[in-house]
């Protein structure tokens, strides 16, 4: 008799920082099939944007994802500037690139920490998150926010980075380098991490093509796709850097790609800072008066891969249609391939290896009672329940 055991992971599970349900169909220790339920984070952002003006959309798309909160405005700005046929000032290009790369640094450090945590290697987790603070401090200094930086607008950026800040930014970046060495050394040399991640969760080039996977997930299988190189935007064609790839195809290769990208990002930021010093302060925006009718296809390389924004404009001040494709949407689907045939213990790190971000993958939340068809909750109901509960507690005291 062929009996399978179902192991559910989620929707609320300590392994995951966001809600998502995976069902592993196992025979003994081996995962034979996987199914998932999504939708716990769907917020209807695409539809909401149709009722916002183009300027407001920036603040909404920034909240598509908490971790890569610049890549969505980046792609949206690229799409809008395609429609408006606008060229942005060089200084704005450098500032955008610096913000984008700082975000990659903090996202990759966050992932290294989480990966360590999933493997039961909590020292890596503590280190990585501690050193990530340096990057967040930099963000706080430059933008005033640790996350959701609100730096982008159509035609440029909202705030300048004054030249007087540059020495201190460089100093902080210098303190990050030895920490990156430490982390890379710890991950690349550790026999336990090798044993847990090598030859685990293999994705071949053919799988990458079939699932349309992007970013470090694709680059770790030797597919050298990177929007920054392929379809250059902002200041990426103005600085020297290389696309990191690995032929390993396994979880270890994904870690390797991300760790080496940390060095590339630091190098890109340093080059941008050096070039910015030569430019006039304050020249950060090209004013755009009207958005003409048309379609824009904006792309940006987020820490997890290509973000794609499609915007259709009819000449008014808000989009007719705004489609957002986050990288996790295609990367998460690769589990169907990478988890099968692996043990349950390895499934956790394989799920984590693509750095899944469910906020990105889904974008609404409304609930209906399945039988009566009645809406169960809205914001006011929640407030009412919360107030009711507080008053009940007060009464019982």
């Amino acid at each position: 008799m062929n009996t399978k055991t179902i192991i559910p992971i989620g929707p609320y599970h300590p392994l995951q920082e966001e809600p998502e349900l995976f069902r592993l169909y196992c025979e003994g220790e081996i995962v034979k099939d996987i199914e998932w339920e999504t939708g716990y984070n769907h917020r209807g952002i695409e539809k909401i944007n149709e009722s916002k003006t183009f300027d407001q959309v920036f603040f909404v798309v920034e909240r598509v994802c908490g971790i890569c909160s610049t890549s969505h405005p980046f792609a949206f700005a690229n799409a809008m500037e395609e429609i408006a046929k606008t060229e942005i000032p060089d200084r704005a290009k450098y500032i955008r690139t610096i913000i984008g790369e700082l975000e990659r640094l903090h996202s990759h450090l966050l992932w290294v920490g989480l990966a360590g945590h999933f493997l039961g290697y909590n020292t890596v987790f503590m280190w990585a998150w501690k050193y990530r603070e340096i990057v967040l401090e930099l963000f706080e200094k430059i933008t005033g926010n640790r996350n959701n930086y609100a730096m982008f607008r159509i035609g440029g950026v909202r705030r300048d980075i004054p030249n007087s800040y540059i020495p201190e930014i460089k100093k902080l970046l210098d303190t990050l380098k030895p920490k990156a060495d430490l982390l890379t050394g710890a991950v690349m040399d550790d026999p336990v991490i090798h044993a847990r991640t090598k030859n685990i969760g293999i994705l071949t080039k053919e799988d990458i093509r079939n699932f349309g996977a992007v970013g470090p997930t694709a680059r770790a299988s030797g597919v050298a796709i990177d929007v920054r190189k392929d379809d250059p935007y902002a200041a990426y064609p103005l600085v020297n850097w290389k696309v990191i790839t690995s032929e390993g195809c396994d979880v270890f290769a994904k870690a390797e790609v991300r760790l080496l990208e940390i060095y590339e990002s630091i190098s890109i930021i340093e080059q941008c800072l050096a070039k910015m010093e030569l430019l006039k302060e304050g020249d950060i925006v090209t004013m755009v008066k009207n958005i003409p009718e048309g379609m824009g296809f904006g792309r940006a390389e987020a820490p997890r891969g290509e973000v794609f924004h499609f915007v259709k404009s009819d000449g008014s001040n808000s989009p007719v249609r705004h489609k957002i494709r986050a990288p996790s949407y295609v990367n998460v689907a690769t589990f169907k391939k990478s988890c099968i045939g692996q043990t349950i213990a390895d499934a956790t790190i394989i799920l984590a290896a693509v750095d899944p971000c469910y906020c990105c993958t889904e974008r609404m939340a409304f609930a209906y009672d399945y039988y009566s068809g009645k809406r169960i909750m809205n914001g006011l109901d929640l407030i009412r329940i919360s107030q009711q509960k507080t008053s009940d507690i007060r009464m019982s005291l």
């Binding site: 339920e37 539809k47 290509e306 007719v320 489609k323 169907k336 409304f366 209906y368």
Partner: protein, 156 residues
């Protein structure tokens, strides 16, 4: 990666798919929108995916006058081009052949478009709801609204 000369792409397409291509619009530099007949979608998509090794990015469903539009976005990673196949579907019978059997990346987005717009994808391996898990009313498609109808979250 595709090694195609984009100056002659319109001629190549017209030669291969005469009659199926309605219009080719160069939207911006490196961005092409190709209007095609919906019956020819699998054949043309296959040409881009298999012969030119393009990557499937995503598809976008849209409401337009008298029906729906679906735009399939493909990326030529070697050259940085985005090629978009635009198909129109009538309002009374929104049906189109699924691409999920050709490329796995189309699987989820077709389910999503089906759920949000009510468009049917013929021969899709698993055309169930992706986002709401059946918690929305049947035959209620939140994105399938006419132009000018404003979105009101309380109404849903």
């Amino acid at each position: 990666m595709g090694t195609i000369n984009y100056d002659i792409l319109p001629e190549i397409l017209k030669l291969n798919f005469n009659g199926d291509i309605r219009r080719i619009i160069v939207q911006q530099r490196k961005r092409l929108v190709i209007h095609i007949r919906k019956e020819a979608l699998p054949e043309i998509a296959n040409y881009f995916l298999d012969e030119l090794s393009y990557r499937f990015i995503i598809a976008t469903g849209m409401v337009c006058d008298n029906g729906f539009e679906i735009i399939y976005h493909f990326s030529d990673d070697g050259n940085g081009y985005v090629i978009n196949l635009l198909t129109r579907l009538p309002e009374d019978k929104p049906e189109i052949e699924s691409l999920a059997n050709i490329i796995n990346a189309a699987n989820w987005i077709e389910r999503e478009i089906h759920e949000l717009f009510g468009i049917k994808f013929i021969n899709h391996p698993n055309l169930t709801k992706l986002i709401s898990d059946g918690l929305w009313k049947e035959n209620e498609f939140p994105y399938a609204r006419k132009k000018g109808e404003k979105f009101n979250p309380d109404e849903l």
